[in-house]
Symmetry: D2
Subunit: 287 residues, 4 copies
């Protein structure tokens, strides 16, 4: 599903005021850009303007570096945050796993099928269990065992490794360790976690056990940007699954896996296609 033509994707966020759509679309068109997607949103409660714009680079008359300079100039008077990506420069993504394979297989199968526009140079784990899976897809698998004592040093080594590989995005695919605030700070809004509950319900450990005990009639999963506050980061995607008294705790866990992997993959797709903007601990998802 790779796009044939190279496109540029611009995301912007700034205080709302008149003329923003005109200013930005005019700029692209003045340089002969053919806009193929435009989506915008005004958060009236916060007076924020957010927009995603995708245009074809063929015929566009600015070089990439010049474009960035010009965007800086354009953005200045509006106090505009902006981010620009090109479809032929896919994000570089690392996957963190522990022992459960369902999310990992799901991501790698999509990667191989060309469904995700990313490069995956490496997989990191605190356990050796899923090494064989990584090898089947020809991806390096690094084991960093974690104990309370070794965690700071191991995380530092992980960060170094990720930087060596120019990693843009860390995906916690059922990685059963909490990443420290320092780690998160090294990749702001670039660590996606899948939590196996419908947040904010059942934050923390063993959500299926808690859901089963509480007797809920629906279970769910939540993909979100990891922040220092566990399970409190901006939500990217959520989905649910109906259950009844007939489902055992084991059924919750088994059926929940399907929701987890689909929700996580959806969040990764949205992020790597530059469809998410984070602000005020929420997300706008231009899906």
């Amino acid at each position: 599903m790779k796009k044939k033509k190279t496109t540029a994707t611009l995301r912007i966020c700034c205080p709302d005021r008149k003329g923003l759509v005109v200013a930005v679309t005019q700029f692209i068109r003045d340089h002969n850009g053919n806009i193929v997607n435009l989506d915008q949103h005004v958060d009236e409660t916060q007076d924020q303007f957010l927009m995603r714009l995708e245009w074809e680079m063929e015929g566009f008359d600015l070089e990439r570096a010049t474009l960035r300079e010009r965007l800086d100039t354009l953005a200045l008077p509006y106090g505009m945050w902006w981010s620009l990506h090109f479809s032929d420069e896919p994000l570089r993504m690392a996957i963190f796993v522990s022992k459960e394979s369902h999310c990992l297989y799901d991501l790698l199968a999509r990667y191989e099928a060309g469904e995700l526009n990313v490069e995956i140079p490496l997989i990191i784990s605190n356990h050796p269990d899923l090494k064989a899976v990584a090898e089947r897809f020809g991806i390096a698998y690094h084991v960093f065992p974690i104990t309370k004592a070794t965690k700071p040093a191991q995380e530092a080594a992980e960060i170094e490794l990720l930087r060596e590989h120019d990693i843009d995005l860390v995906v916690m695919a059922r990685y059963m360790q909490i990443l420290s605030g320092d780690f998160i700070a090294a990749f702001p809004n670039r660590v996606i976690n899948i939590h196996h509950s419908f947040l904010p319900a059942f934050a923390g450990a063993k959500p299926y056990h808690s859901a089963f005990k509480r007797g809920v009639k629906i279970i769910g999963a939540t993909a979100h940007y990891a922040t220092e506050d566990l399970d409190e980061g901006p939500i990217i995607a959520q989905d649910v699954q109906r259950v009844s008294h007939r489902e055992s705790l084991q059924d919750f866990i088994r059926q929940g896996k399907d929701v987890e992997k689909v929700v996580l993959a959806r969040a990764v797709y949205l992020h790597t296609d530059h469809r998410v903007i984070e602000y005020s601990n929420k997300t706008v998802v231009f899906a």
Copy 2:
């Protein structure tokens, strides 16, 4: 949708042991009962056996009073809780409301259409706003204004009124007051509340505001038996609605109403058709 033939519905709950299904179904058949519905469940984590059995009274050779005596005898050796209802003796239900009409209209429209096998002799409110709605359906509407000071006396008066009318079931149809522990104790597992969130997420006041602030991608509603611990009672039914950044807080509230009224009506249907068994602060719903 009223059932033509009179049926008896028996619900039982007891520690699991061999021969329970045989013992109970044999008993019904020995008295020439034609079983039209049988559903059972074993909670293996708690070693509990639960069953719902519905049979036609035509041709059944025990009088209702005798049947109750015989059930006592049958139940004794198993330590069995049981409950028996007849379809021609509908539950008597009171509705509590405040100012929002959507759940009230929904319940009354179903009542009028014969979808719910109940009698609704009265509606109670802390506000006069919905009196006209009650009158349109020819149902008495009693106003009990509540202040912190008057609450105990008003609740006592309400309980008395409910008892005068032989009320079996109290339905809080967006009644924006918390019923006291004393009130709940007067109607154990016979007060159904609709909470406008996907519990246990966003318990307490203003759940849509909290959901909006948190940036969730799905909202929901939960019908549950009210207990002394607010929003902690056994869940009967839940449903959800997908939302995105495009929905404002007002959209959450507007769309949430649809989920609320359908979930509440479903719980009322399940309860009044004797399909719910409560145990360990959970429910088995033989839907």
Copy 3:
């Protein structure tokens, strides 16, 4: 939920070309219009541009009649279809019913609660059954019995009555008669029907019976603009409900009603808030 400030809502549709967003938004802003909602879509398969724009009338410097003239001028070079509505000029809506009350009650309860920005001057039926419901809400109820022989004359009389009342929108709320092509032609894209299946599955009569016979695991409902070809018109909204072998045909019908009324009400909301654009027998829904 009535909006306080008066707004104008403009919908446009035309062949896609560069500069459309700019041209239209510029025009509004040149006349001091504060845009509060803008949503647009490009159908790349058909090269169609569609947009919905809502702005506040306070401070806007064109009279309504002048605005319409100016829009004609603006639209001409683009071959643009456009439609303009003001929030203080609600659509006038007629409801057609037969004997089932659930959709009617649902619409009227929303109407009374101010959830729908419409006027409902009359209800039309081929049966007298729901007269009492209409009366409770103080709405005129006209009975037009239909036989094969009388249908053309009765429909002509209905059309005349609808025109007398300046009806903008006809809602078939489980009206169990097929409206003729002539009738539909009198209200193009202004007749909304609720079909009690997930179209295109189970078009035609008795969809729940067909669904039950086919053994589907999900049932649904579809709100669509009625066209001459029965059940073939542009779909506005759909929703579904999970079922299993435990549900009888009667359960399908009972549970289906909840889906029907919610889906129909959603379509009516979307239409009367001018959020739907029909083209190529499909809809764009700016929800």
Copy 4:
């Protein structure tokens, strides 16, 4: 998630009459079988009784061969169809694929994780494309190219191969060939297909194209037993996914894959755990 203790699972189907539950459960208990799951259903429209019963083999006092003989005797007077499986004799399953990998990866990842109680000795395809996937999991991959001319001979060869491997179940994991009536007849109710639409809507080829053209607001997938009549076989599982005008045809296809693979895997789980009974071209699913 393999069950530790060996269990027997009995499915029965026969005309309804009094005493069926008692007769069967009594028989199991008379031989010291500890029933761990019992689910039954009466189809009142067809007067059919259906039951699934699972009990532990530990302590059960009949040999497997003797048990089968005794079941024949028990079944005779009731005209009872029955089927018996033991959890330590997993079904042997073959997967048919063409070029799309998502369902195949999904099934193999579950297989490897022990989520499905099956043996998968071989994969058959009409194309060589997915050979590498099969090899990664150490499963034999057989290519049978199909042309109109060679189809009968190739199918005969496939059937022979499947019989050599004692295959109990054929899973068409997006196998883009129609299996002939002769092939299906060789594996009655033992060929599961995933169709990429919400049947009976969009049967036949290119359902996403048809769905996109029709402008539906929900897409779906259906797992069913293949029969001679294409897409008309008994439905085992269905699920859906909400779409809007924002989704392109490519988005339908991409998002539909998630529904397809989850629905297919669910049907395979249900079948291989002996939870499905087929009758009258419908299924009862004791989930």
